[in-house]
């Protein structure tokens, strides 16, 4: 006799199916999380012939889109270092944790990596919100985080090494370039959270100081897609064209650029400068909509140096021909090397004070050019402006000759004007008055 599925069978069946999918996800070819053995000895960051490090990014949730590729870049650097003999003769053993795009989760996982896994350092975070969430943990445990993404500055922690751009290494030079080449009237569009709002505060102060003008400012909720009112406002504020400074993050960019084009506002009259659109994002938004618009970064895949070519080639070889590299991935890649050099100079991975001291002054021949870790825990970086071209990569139309020194405290904003950060001098510390 045939019988239809009852509810009980359905539940059992679906849980078996879910279980098998879950198991499969764990045993897939993607680099899997190495779980730490609970009986690891107390001072276990360096035990036997491995050094454990933590990788803490969002592998699920809304930020996974961006952070997954950063994990790939970090894994690539670790693999290269291991193949070349490791650090201090020991192999690096990455423990990958998923922050799940959820800031409290980031904090929990950071604590877990430090207390249970006893990692030597953690590479991680993307959004400023996640960094701000883990910061108290790193400071109270006096541990070490390497952070690879451009950010809004106005922060300088002893426990973080920042390898992405500070505002004066991305936002400020791009505003100067726009003023010189594209026009004086700016409309600021951003997602509604800490980075765009702080960035726009900086831009407004800078425009005021340099003779530009902010004609309007608007924010979309993170992930929002209804941009019709904003486009009308831009049209009203800039009837004859002008610059759009774009700090939108994620999906909103897609809606914004598609509808900007639909409204007939092309880059010839309304050039836009973006600070969150890189090679990965261009693919998702569509080259047709972005062609001719600008982005400011420190690194583009099209940077023409032997180091850059080798990086692109190694990445494609490991992850597939159609993958692209971008600025945060490059910063993530170089920070693993900078940490390695610091550990080698210190002669230990466990004594964090020594590693921190050794890190300052480390130079690395990065894909973007020669970078140096500064006393304020940020690195000097090259600033570049690229224009989106037909193949979805960037034509580099502006590049600094020298690496620009980082200034974490913004010099245009009244509250932080004249302040600097120097961790080599105990008298100065995180925020001191520069003369």
């Amino acid at each position: 006799m045939t019988k239809q599925f009852g509810r009980r069978e359905f539940i059992i069946l679906s849980s078996t199916a879910a279980g098998s999918v879950f198991l499969k996800a764990c045993s897939g070819s993607t680099p899997t999380a190495t779980t730490a053995s609970p009986e690891a000895s107390p001072a276990a960051a360096t035990s036997g012939d491995v050094i454990k490090v933590g990788i803490l990014h969002s592998l699920s949730g809304t930020m996974a889109i961006s952070e997954k590729s950063v994990v790939d870049a970090e894994q690539l650097a670790i693999e290269e270092i291991n193949n070349a003999g490791g650090v201090l003769g020991k192999k690096i053993d990455p423990i990958v944790e998923d922050g799940a795009s959820d800031w409290p989760t980031f904090n929990e996982k950071a604590k877990k990596l430090i207390d249970q896994d006893k990692v030597a350092t953690i590479f991680g975070c993307w959004t400023s919100a996640s960094r701000k969430a883990v910061l108290p943990t790193f400071e109270s445990k006096n541990h070490m985080l390497w952070y690879p993404v451009q950010y809004e500055g106005q922060e300088c922690s002893k426990n973080i090494f920042y390898t992405g751009a500070a505002p004066n290494q991305q936002i400020e030079p791009s505003v100067e370039w726009l003023l010189k080449n594209k026009g004086k009237e700016f409309f600021l569009v951003g997602s509604d959270y800490v980075f765009p709002r702080t960035a726009n505060t900086i831009i407004k102060a800078q425009l005021e100081a340099l003779g530009g003008k902010t004609v309007g400012e608007d924010y979309i909720p993170l992930g929002g897609t209804e941009v019709t009112p904003i486009i009308s406002k831009i049209k009203t504020a800039l009837p004859n064209g002008g610059v759009i400074y774009n700090t939108l993050n994620g999906d909103s960019n897609v809606a914004f650029f598609k509808q900007l084009q639909g409204a007939g506002m092309g880059p010839d009259k309304y050039p836009s400068m973006s600070v969150s659109i890189a090679e990965e994002e261009v693919k998702a938004i569509g080259v047709e909509y972005l062609k001719g618009h600008y982005a400011a970064w420190n690194y583009f895949q099209t940077v023409d140096t032997p180091k850059s070519k080798a990086f692109v080639e190694a990445f494609k070889k490991k992850y597939g021909e159609d993958r692209v590299v971008n600025d945060p991935m490059e910063a993530a890649y170089i920070m693993v090397y900078l940490w390695k050099q610091a550990v080698e100079k210190a002669g230990t991975a466990d004594d964090l004070e020594k590693v921190r001291a050794a890190a300052i002054g480390q130079t690395f021949d990065a894909p973007e050019g020669m970078v140096t870790m500064q006393p304020n825990h940020h690195i000097s970086k090259f600033v570049r402006i690229g224009e989106v071209r037909d193949d979805g990569l960037f034509e580099i139309i502006f590049s600094t000759k020298e690496a620009v020194k980082p200034l974490p405290w913004n010099q245009y904003v009244a509250d932080t004007k004249g302040y600097g950060c120097d961790w080599t001098d105990p008298a100065k510390g995180g925020k001191y008055k520069m003369t």
Binding site: M1, T2, K3, E9, F10, I12, L13, T16, A17, G19, S20, V21, L23, K24, A25, G28, S29, T30, S60, T62, A64, I65, K68, D192, Y219, I220, P221, G223, G224, T225, E226, V227, T228, P229, I230, S232, K233, T236, P239, D251, S252, N253, V254, A255, K258, Q259, Q261, G262, A263, G264, E280, K283, A284, I285, G286, V287, E288, Y289, Y319, G320
Partner: protein
């Protein structure tokens, strides 16, 4: 004049996207009382279908008209997924709205993760599991002593099939590496481009133009509304659906196959979500999160409109669209320039994210006065 036209068009275009997204939900929620939290994800599937169709037509002479094929394909694909969802999950939960809400929410998460991870290896693994397990079930179910074997099938065949599927799919992955393990779509969004004749816009007045994509979506919405109206009022199945909505037991007594009606209604509602997905793919992003951006707004439309009334959804979508456009673009600020306080009040809310806050606040206030929406259902049928 241009400004007025622009405002009307702005409100209309926001409203039409809302309505298109809400139409399917309104049918499912209104006629069947099912709160389908996976509606946004069905839209996302429609948008991904557009992407697939677009790629299939790339380089062919029909490439410029792929959008029409995409509309049909998206309707069929999402209707099929909706049908599976109804047969597999929802039919066990009729009359229990809270459980339906939770179950469909779970489905929405599964669908999101599905488009992120789906690869040939994944499809092979799941396919093999289904083949082995359901094959065994189907085979054994014909034996007379099946009742006795039931537990055995579940507890032995289940894990066994899972193990076989797992091992063989990871073998496959190790042999062919990236070619089979690479996700089809990945976590990164994909790029849906409007066909050439939909880019640009219709110029009106000086320097303003109505985007063709928006005009297309408005037309599409009108076609969908008329199509649904015609279907519900002029076809035998439409009659049956309306009959079941009004009185399920009586309809059943009169020989209407209520279960088929349920499945059909759900499939049509889901298919409409797919059509909406094509539209939002033209406007915005196609990524695993696409559906999430619309689900709250669509529920707002259905709730404000009044459950079970299509005309309510239409009016509500238009109203919400117009109000959010007027607030968001600061059209009210200049009108009240006689009072600086009022002007600054409206300016404060004249930003895309604050406009949303204002619209939700207005909706809450509105629901205090008319808790059942603009066009509540009347009479004894309400509780049926």
């Amino acid at each position: 004049m241009t400004q007025l036209l622009e405002a009307i068009f702005g409100g209309l275009s926001i409203g039409s996207v809302l309505l298109l997204a809400a139409l399917g939900l309104a049918i499912v929620f209104g006629l069947m009382g099912v709160i389908n939290m996976a509606h946004g994800e069905l839209m996302m599937l429609g948008a991904y279908t557009t992407f697939v169709v677009q790629n299939a037509f790339k380089g062919t002479p029909l490439a410029d008209f792929y959008i029409f094929f995409a509309l049909i394909a998206a309707f069929l694909v999402t209707a099929l997924v909706g049908l599976l969802l109804e047969r597999g999950v929802i039919r066990y939960l009729y009359g229990r709205p809270l459980e339906t809400l939770l179950a469909t929410w779970g489905v929405s998460l599964i669908l999101q993760q599905f488009v992120r991870t789906v690869s040939w290896q994944f499809v092979f693994g799941v396919g093999l599991f289904c083949l082995l397990f359901f094959g065994a079930w189907w085979f054994l179910a014909r034996r007379p002593d099946f009742e006795r074997l039931r537990g055995w099938v579940l507890w032995v065949m289940g894990p066994l099939s899972a193990a076989i599927a797992l091992v063989s799919s990871s073998l496959l992955g190790n042999t062919f590496k990236l070619t089979v393990t690479k996700p089809w779509f990945g976590t990164q969004g994909v790029d849906v481009t409007a066909p050439r004749w939909l880019r640009g816009g219709l110029p009106i007045g000086t320097g303003y133009q109505l985007p063709y994509t928006r005009l297309f979506i408005i037309a599409l919405t009108i076609v969908c509304v008329l199509g649904i109206y015609w279907f519900l009022n002029k076809t035998p199945w439409g009659l049956r659906i309306r009959a079941v909505t009004q009185n399920r037991n009586m309809s059943s007594c009169l020989g209407i196959p209520t279960r088929t009606v349920d499945a059909l209604t759900f499939a049509i509602g889901s298919g409409l979500a797919g059509v909406a997905g094509v539209a939002v793919g033209l406007l915005g992003s196609v990524s695993p999160n696409t559906g999430q951006a619309y689900i709250v707004d669509t529920f707002m439309v259905v709730v404000v409109g009044g459950v079970g009334k299509l005309v309510g959804s239409i009016v509500a979508a238009g109203a919400i669209g117009t109000v959010s456009y007027i607030i968001g673009s600061n059209a009210l600020g200049p009108l009240v320039s006689f009072s600086p306080a009022l002007t600054s009040f409206f300016e404060f809310f004249a930003s895309a994210s604050m406009a949303k806050v204002m619209v939700f606040a207005l909706i809450i206030v509105f629901l205090q006065f008319r808790p059942a929406g603009l066009f509540p259902q009347k009479g004894r049928t309400v509780d049926a």
